[in-house]
């Protein structure tokens, strides 16, 4: 059967694969035939993800990307890959006038600095094969919308979209493509934590009506975008932000 979205023969590194979008991306990409290298901080949860993957030859590299040693360790252990999906991220809610240097350092370090340095290190060590695809899980929060208390998060996610443009331009010469996926609200573990400010019902009432497609996104919705951007179907696509938000930004 003709399938331009197949990931057969591709090896893909997925960060933040111990839960949420990262885990969903790893699972869906394995179903499309990719060999997956999953990374995260928690080896127990990475093992849970590993069990959920289709096929064999997948591997775990446990690493804390918040420091240089962790980044270097991941880069050194990483086999040659055809794609990397940067899913590791944290939410932080803070109103503008209470923002502190420590909070900014923490959220920028995980959401923005780590994926940029990982990309740089993978390139320097020639781990990314010719024609690779680099994908950042950014957000509609930043380049499209934001909300009360979301400004630090928006700043880091918007930065990824900016970085992706520059990297896409620079790496085009070697056939490497760089794109972001900008999901709308996808209820994952981290989101539940960050939304404890509001009750679940309040959250549902106030937001589900804002999605013209009348439902929340799932990790699979996001993972399907990742499959497209990793596959040869998107071989002429670079420097874009793929918005997957159920129509949220149409409002």
């Amino acid at each position: 059967m003709f399938n331009p979205f197949s990931l057969e023969g591709k090896c893909v590194l997925v960060t933040g694969a111990s839960s949420g979008i990262g885990r969903g991306v790893a699972i869906q990409c394995s179903k499309m035939g990719a060999q997956i290298v999953i990374s995260g901080r928690n080896v127990l949860r990475l093992n849970e993800t590993l069990k959920l993957l289709s096929g064999e030859r997948h591997q775990i590299i446990c690493a804390d990307l918040s420091n240089q040693e962790g980044l270097d360790s991941l880069i050194d252990q990483c086999p040659p890959i055809h794609g990397v999906v940067h899913c590791a991220g944290i939410p932080k809610i803070c109103d503008v006038k209470h923002i502190k240097r420590d909070l900014l350092n923490e959220i920028a370090n995980i959401n923005e600095i780590a994926p940029i340095l990982l990309t740089s290190g993978l390139l320097k060590k020639k781990k990314l094969q010719k024609g690779s695809s680099i994908i950042f899980i950014a957000s509609i929060s930043g380049i499209c919308v934001s909300n009360v208390g979301e400004s630090p998060y928006s700043a880091t996610k918007g930065a990824l979209s900016g970085f992706a443009k520059g990297a896409a331009f620079e790496l085009a010469a070697q056939g490497t493509r760089v794109n972001t996926i900008c999901p709308g609200l996808v209820p994952t573990d981290i989101l539940k934590l960050s939304n404890e400010l509001f009750s679940e019902q309040q959250l549902k009432d106030s937001t589900i009506g804002k999605y013209p497609l009348k439902r929340y996104g799932t990790v699979e919705d996001v993972a399907n975008g990742v499959i497209y951007l990793l596959s040869d179907a998107s071989s002429w696509v670079t420097g874009t932000n793929l918005i997957i938000d159920g129509g949220y930004t149409l409002n």
């Binding site: 809610i93 803070c94 109103d95 006038k97 209470h98 009360v148 208390g149 404890e196 400010l197 509001f198 009750s199």
Partner: protein
């Protein structure tokens, strides 16, 4: 931090509501200016000033500023 100091700090998170509106028995959720931003500001203020992290559920469970002050002290 005393109750009076807490009330002053609480009031400082509001821009349009006059400071004299804030008393120990003020039902803060009934204030016109009470919304997700002022709620978040109060959570940040308590974190900064007292070093205690409260939740949205805590804010919803209290009626007066004094209730909230007692809840924070009990944490």
């Amino acid at each position: 931090m005393t109750l009076d100091e807490f009330i002053v700090a609480f009031a400082a998170e509001f821009n349009d509501t006059p400071a004299e509106m804030f008393k120990a028995d003020t039902d803060y959720k009934a204030l016109d200016e009470w919304n997700s931003l002022t709620a978040l500001s109060v959570i940040s203020m308590i974190d900064d000033e007292i070093g205690i992290t409260i939740t949205g559920a805590d804010l919803r469970s209290c009626k007066s500023i004094e209730d909230l002050y007692s809840l924070v002290l009990a944490k």
